[in-house]
């Protein structure tokens, strides 16, 4: 029986067209800007890879990229373990399950710019609840509008507050899918709680954790709204993460060429690191 023919392509064609229009075409416009210079009136001059070279050599880009990696690294090493710990502590059955789940989901339902505004008001020195408490009750000098350290602590804590729930919910989904028999067998085999975690819970959570790490990496690496609303990238440039810097170049200075080149580099880094994470975390299964 011969079933091979080329007819399948016709079924894939609509999807290809759709992808072309919503992904390829916009990306190609960016590519177009990244290799040319324009002074308006639709007049373009060929620039080659000059913009790329300029961005890659610029200290400003290096600094923003460094801040971006630091931010992503901090939130990943806090949110992933914290999310797992909270998921482990959550009840598996009973009336508290829906209460916990809804409470966990709440932060994720709040629009991003609202989160930024909330935390801005919450942390303003002297008038915000936290700002007042830190400065006037505890006597700690805390001012995220003036001190880079305070600003960094605030954006990291804000992101942890906003997104740890995602890790919790994904881990929890992995945990509840483990049949009771595994825990019973572990009890009979005399496994310690650490071994139960290491050899039963962690392996069973691995797939969802891979997804959690990838989502949290991509989201935090591309973060814009919350820190922009909270600190506007300041004080100084201390919290100017990559996308905040990109928007400054593209819309503030209207340097379309360098901004386009930076976008493509940014995109390539995100893609590369995501691929690295994915490859490393799924390596064992392929063996």
């Amino acid at each position: 029986m011969k079933t091979e023919n080329q007819r399948a392509w016709f079924f894939v064609l609509p999807v290809l067209l759709l992808v072309a229009f919503n992904a390829l075409v916009p990306i190609m416009t960016v590519v177009n800007y990244s290799v040319q210079e324009t002074f308006g009136n639709n007049v373009f001059f060929w620039q080659g890879l000059d913009w790329f070279e300029q961005i890659l050599r610029s200290d400003r880009f290096h600094a923003a990229l460094g801040r971006q990696f630091l931010f992503t690294f901090l939130i990943l090493i806090i949110e992933i373990p914290l999310g797992i710990i909270v998921a482990l502590a959550m009840p598996r059955k009973g009336m508290w399950v829906p209460v916990c789940l809804v409470t966990m989901a709440l932060p994720m339902l709040i629009p991003w710019n609202v989160v930024g505004s909330m935390w801005n008001i919450f942390t303003l020195p002297n008038i915000g609840l936290l700002g007042y408490f830190m400065n006037d009750v505890l006597g700690v000098n805390y001012d995220m509008t003036q001190q880079p350290i305070s600003a960094w602590i605030t954006i990291v804590v804000m992101d942890v507050w906003h997104w740890t729930s995602l890790v919790v919910l994904l881990s929890y989904a992995g945990l509840v899918s483990i049949p009771d028999a595994y825990y019973q067998a572990a009890k009979i085999d005399g496994a310690s709680p650490w071994k139960v975690f290491r050899y039963i819970q962690l392996p069973k959570m691995k797939t969802v954790l891979t997804i959690a790490v990838l989502l949290r990496f991509m989201d935090s690496f591309n973060i814009y709204t919350e820190p922009f609303v909270l600190t506007g990238g300041g004080p100084g440039n201390s919290t100017t993460l990559l996308s905040i810097d990109l928007v400054k170049i593209a819309l503030g200075q209207f340097d379309l060429g360098p901004a386009a080149a930076m976008s493509l580099i940014y995109f390539a880094i995100t893609l590369l690191v995501s691929w690295l994470f994915y490859t490393l975390m799924t390596k064992d299964d392929a063996q």
Partner: protein, 357 residues
Amino acid sequence: MAKITLSDLRHSYLPNPSGPEDYALKEIDLDWEDGGAYALLGPSGCGKSTLLNIISGLLQPSEGRILFDGKDVTDLPPDQRNIAQVFQFPVIYDTMTVRDNLAFPLRNRGVAETRINERVSEIATMLEVEEMLDIRASHLTPDNKQKISMGRGLVRDDVNVVMFDEPLTVIDPHLKWKLRSKLKELHQRVRATMIYVTHDQTEALTFADQVVVMQDGEIVQIGTPVELFERPQHTFVGHFIGSPGMNILPAEQDQGIIRFHGEAVAIEGAVTGEGGKTELGVRPEFVTLAEAGIPARVRKVSDVGRHAVIETVVGDTPVRAVVDDADVEQGAEVHLAFRPDQTRLYRDGWISSEVSS
């Protein structure tokens, strides 16, 4: 290895059980002899798994004690009871190799590494999994996974009892038979007490020397497969075991004569007790078509290979007969004869006739 005694065991999943219907297990008194091969047979929800989990210590009974060789273990956790349990779905530690899986219970108990290697290779030989020792356990087929989870139980040489909770559920039919005979062989080699929980009578009857039949949280009969087949103590055992099960027929007791649909029926021996609901029990294998006897009409004849099952109705009571060759047509009027020494009387479900000596 040990003799296991269950004394006055009762269990309820409710915090404050009030009546017998609140108990998943009602009054279990039972001895499992050292080295025996037992099957715990009963329909789903009859309390078999509850009983198993109580023996392994995963569940605390509401009342009663569990003794291993006379020593009270009721309050001991599972890992201190030295038991092994194989679950319905194979439990293996995915990220470990087969070797590490087998060594796991020993490592948790701090056994010396040389001793562990010795035991692991012994068990691997016994289970015929030597060539798989160094591959990741997650790559195994379900039947091999089930072997490994069995091996994790057997690897401890001080194991008191190995329990199987419907272990063949996920195994392909053609491998079921193989694994079952492997179990039987293992039992003969290690001589550990084994308890095999199942709702499948074939599995129970082929594995066990003694079958414990349960229904609604109660033990209805303990016996060898032959005893269960030939002389069920309860109508439930009668129709649960055998394919098709025993004919259970409404009967009247009339001054020592047992009548079924007005016809006098000879039974095995003297009738004990009186009153209650009386029923006749006769296996289809011992019902024959005869020249004279109880008039019946054939409703259906099904040829199942070596023999045929004839479904008849007497009045509106169905009676099945298993015969070697069925030369009757559907709708035919026939007469049935019951073999007297295989016909029993039951009163309120329990046997109420004696074997005449």
